[in-house]
């Protein structure tokens, strides 16, 4: 048993260390310097191992610390009920939720998939030893904080010490129920896709945990002690059943399917994106095109991806129209808001850089372009000839800009209207600048994403995103836009500067695409 555990622990550590090295190698510049031998390199491996072990330790304590602090301690102090009892009340009900939703045993993790499904380790030994380890982590991780924060709200020390054991007992009893259910019905619980009864139970328990104290109802200390006393033997009974159960192999065979392992936990995995993208193709036989050549090709792409491309922009536009209508109505009910709104339109323009960033769907659109189109077309040499490549680029740019301009136009007009109805401005140029600069930002983001895609083409033939430079560029874009949130600048100056920047950026990047894309726009090998 111990041997199985050691092997599985080392396995987990090895691939964690490897993924740390992999991410380091994914960074621009570093990837040129660092060789593949890195995975063998002793020093770095030790470093990655230390990081991985540190992560394990942090993972043991940090989550529990935040949980006890935020969900129990701080919440317990918000009500005017007895703090110690409220603390125990919330703790009890959340522990039941945890027992249902956080089982460890029935979580289809990659660790289990690699060890049991791929490497054929002894499922029972793996399950029991790793389960024991995770329960130990629960106790060790909880103990310091139940004591620290428990004493903070005057829960007796002995109860604070027993609280982690309550958690573990409840969890083990829940596992016993799931194993029993599997034995009698063959249904395996997957904690990442709980059935609706469990969701209802969770919602109900959550409401009771934080709702009852509002009406001054909390579990009394005596009741808690009774529950604790009842739960400990139930936990031990659960443990005996967990140890007696033999069929872990069959159970995990059902649980550890690639779909379960990769789908829910890791929704950004390339397989899922690819499958979703493939599903996004709409075809009823009627959508055709009268155009020719690459215009025809692109037209069909747009028509077959209507939902993905245009529907969400339509939804955005609808939402924006409603919001703007609401904002325009505010001064009627709250005349004092008039001046604030007026000031917002005159100084908050930088904030709209972030809003336009959030509204722009460039990343999703270029992703769809790759997954459903370029992934296959780039393997045809003729598709990469400058004429075809730039022809398709031009069509795409037109589409990207026009899709995103609709919500942008609404915001532009909306802002100008808000300015007008809240007292206007001395300088009418403000109206024009508001409208033009918001639209310029929208065009900027459309160009930016498409140009990044054409110049860095970050995907491999297996649709994996491989370019570190691309990731860095995306993060930088986000950071710059985020930084804008805190800027307050006069609309005219900022608007004109932004518009000029957008025009210059667009011009320069289009020149770059026309010059370099025929070389850079290809599948990464």
């Amino acid at each position: 048993m111990l041997n199985t555990f050691t092997i599985s622990f080392r396995l987990k550590n090895t691939y964690k260390a490897n993924s740390i090295i992999y991410s380091i190698k994914g960074l621009p510049i570093l990837n040129k310097i660092l060789p593949d031998r890195l995975y063998k390199s002793g020093g770095l491996k030790v470093f990655a191992n230390i990081v991985s072990v540190l992560w394990e330790i942090i993972g043991t304590f940090l989550g529990k610390f935040l949980y006890v602090l935020l969900m129990l301690f701080l919440m317990a102090t918000l009500y005017d009920t007895n703090q110690a009892d409220t603390f125990l009340h919330i703790f009890t009900l959340l522990t039941v939720i945890g027992a249902i939703s956080n089982t460890y045993m029935f979580n289809p993790t990659k660790d289990k998939y690699y060890a049991i499904a791929l490497m054929n380790m002894d499922a029972r030994k793996y399950a029991i030893s790793n389960y024991a380890y995770s329960m130990l982590k629960v106790i060790v991780g909880f103990l310091p904080f139940t004591v620290l924060f428990g004493l903070g709200v005057d829960v007796p020390l002995w109860l604070c010490i027993l609280m982690p054991f309550f958690v573990v007992s409840m969890k083990m009893f829940a596992i016993f129920y799931d194993i029993w259910r599997y034995k009698s019905t063959g249904v395996v619980t997957n904690e990442n896709s709980l059935d609706k009864f469990r969701w209802i139970a969770i919602a109900l328990l959550l409401a009771l945990a934080y709702g009852l104290p509002l009406i001054h109802v909390v579990i009394s200390r005596t009741l808690f002690i009774i529950l604790l006393a009842a739960c400990l033997p139930l936990g031990i009974y659960g443990l005996i059943q967990i140890l007696a159960f033999q069929d872990y192999k069959k159970l995990y065979k059902k649980l550890l399917t690639p779909d379960n392992v990769y789908m829910v936990k890791n929704a950004s995995s390339t397989d899922v994106i690819r499958k979703n993208m493939e599903k996004s193709i709409e075809y009823d036989g009627s959508a055709t095109s009268n155009k020719e050549g690459f215009a025809y090709f692109h037209d069909l792409f747009v028509k077959r991806h209507r939902k993905l491309l245009t529907k969400s922009a339509q939804k955005q536009s609808f939402f924006l129209l409603v919001t703007i209508a609401a904002v325009l109505a505010v001064p009627r009910f709250m005349p004092e808001a008039k001046e604030i709104l007026n000031q917002i339109t005159l100084t908050f323009l930088p904030y709209f850089v972030f809003i336009m960033y959030m509204l722009n769907r460039g990343t999703t659109i270029t992703q769809a372009m790759f997954m459903n189109c370029d992934h296959s077309m780039l393997t045809y040499r003729v598709y990469r000839t400058p004429k075809v490549l730039l022809g398709v680029f031009k069509e795409r740019l037109k589409t990207m800009i026009s899709i995103n301009l609709v919500p942008a136009g609404i915001i532009g007009i909306g802002l100008a209207l808000v300015l007008f109805t809240t007292g206007g401005t001395d300088d009418p140029l403000n109206y024009l600048v508001l409208f033009v600069s918001v639209n310029a930002m929208s065009i900027f983001f459309s160009v930016h994403y498409l140009v990044l895609y054409y110049l860095l083409q970050p995907y491999t033939i297996s649709t994996e995103l491989k370019s570190g430079t691309y990731k860095v560029a995306q993060v930088l874009t986000y950071l710059v836009c985020y930084f804008m949130i805190n800027l307050r600048l006069p609309t005219i100056q900022f608007g004109i500067a932004t518009t000029l920047f957008c025009v210059a950026y667009t011009a320069i990047s289009l020149v770059l695409v026309y010059r370099y894309a025929p070389k850079t726009f290809k599948i990464r090998l």
Binding site: F294, S376, T379, Y380, T385, V388
Partner: protein, 231 residues
């Protein structure tokens, strides 16, 4: 016309995969490219298709005089078929014919092309995403042939076909070989011996032609295996 490769080198980090390839491929022949797993066959194709930068050497087309390869010169059929899934078979062909107008010789109607590839009438207006693996492969092969490139690189193209279609494809390749240089990579030696005019082996980063004059099939097989074993 010849495809002339001179001292072509490709490294991945410090590993030399192609160590200086020298070879002349002639028009009118099908070359069977054999090599062990990881020998660099796909790397060689990727270099010729200009998907990878070379680390040394050159390649060009010699047609009276040397000239660099252009995009239209190359058709590359991958072992895993890649077709744009949002188009129907007919739309894909229409698009391809339009962007290759200049290269296509004696253009036929779309349905004639489908007939040439034995693609059923009922499948022609279906989305490519609903095509079977083998049918996608046929489409990939078809558009590469339509574009009429001087050089056709085929990376294990017949493995996903059923025996009947594989036989059809072999006949089709033989029927077009006079106008092309066809390089055909495969792991199936029988296929190479049956279909190809010349056998070339990629071993230890260099290309080597297997001289087959005066050898019967078994002797030739033994010779190929011996060459491949020299690792």
């Amino acid at each position: 016309m010849e495809l002339v490769i001179e001292n072509l080198k490709k490294n991945f980090e410090k590993k030399e995969v192609l160590k200086g390839i020298d070879f002349r491929f002639e028009k009118g022949k099908i070359y069977g490219l054999l090599g062990r797993n990881g020998a660099g066959k796909t790397t060689l194709f990727n270099c010729l298709n200009q998907d990878l930068e070379l680390d040394g050497g050159t390649f060009c087309i010699h047609d009276g005089k040397n000239r660099p390869l252009e995009a239209n010169d190359i058709g590359y059929v991958l072992s895993i078929p890649n077709v744009p899934e949002f188009l129907t078979g007919r739309e894909f062909l229409k698009f391809f014919l339009e962007i290759n107008q200049k290269q296509v010789k004696g253009q036929k109607t779309i349905d004639e092309y489908f007939d040439f590839m034995n693609i059923d009438t009922g499948d022609r207006d279906k989305l490519l995403k609903d095509y079977s693996h083998g049918m996608k492969n046929k489409m990939q092969m078809l558009v590469n042939i339509i574009a009429n490139p001087n050089i056709l690189l085929l990376d294990e193209p017949l493995t996903s076909f059923d025996v009947v279609v594989a036989e059809e494809m072999k006949e089709m390749l033989k029927s077009i070989k006079n106008d092309h240089i066809i390089i055909f990579s495969t792991h199936i030696m029988e296929l190479a011996l049956d279909l190809c005019d010349e056998i070339v082996v990629l071993n230890k980063g260099v290309l080597e032609e297997i001289e087959n004059s005066g050898l019967d099939d078994q002797e030739l097989k033994d010779k190929i295996i011996d060459t491949l074993r020299e690792a």
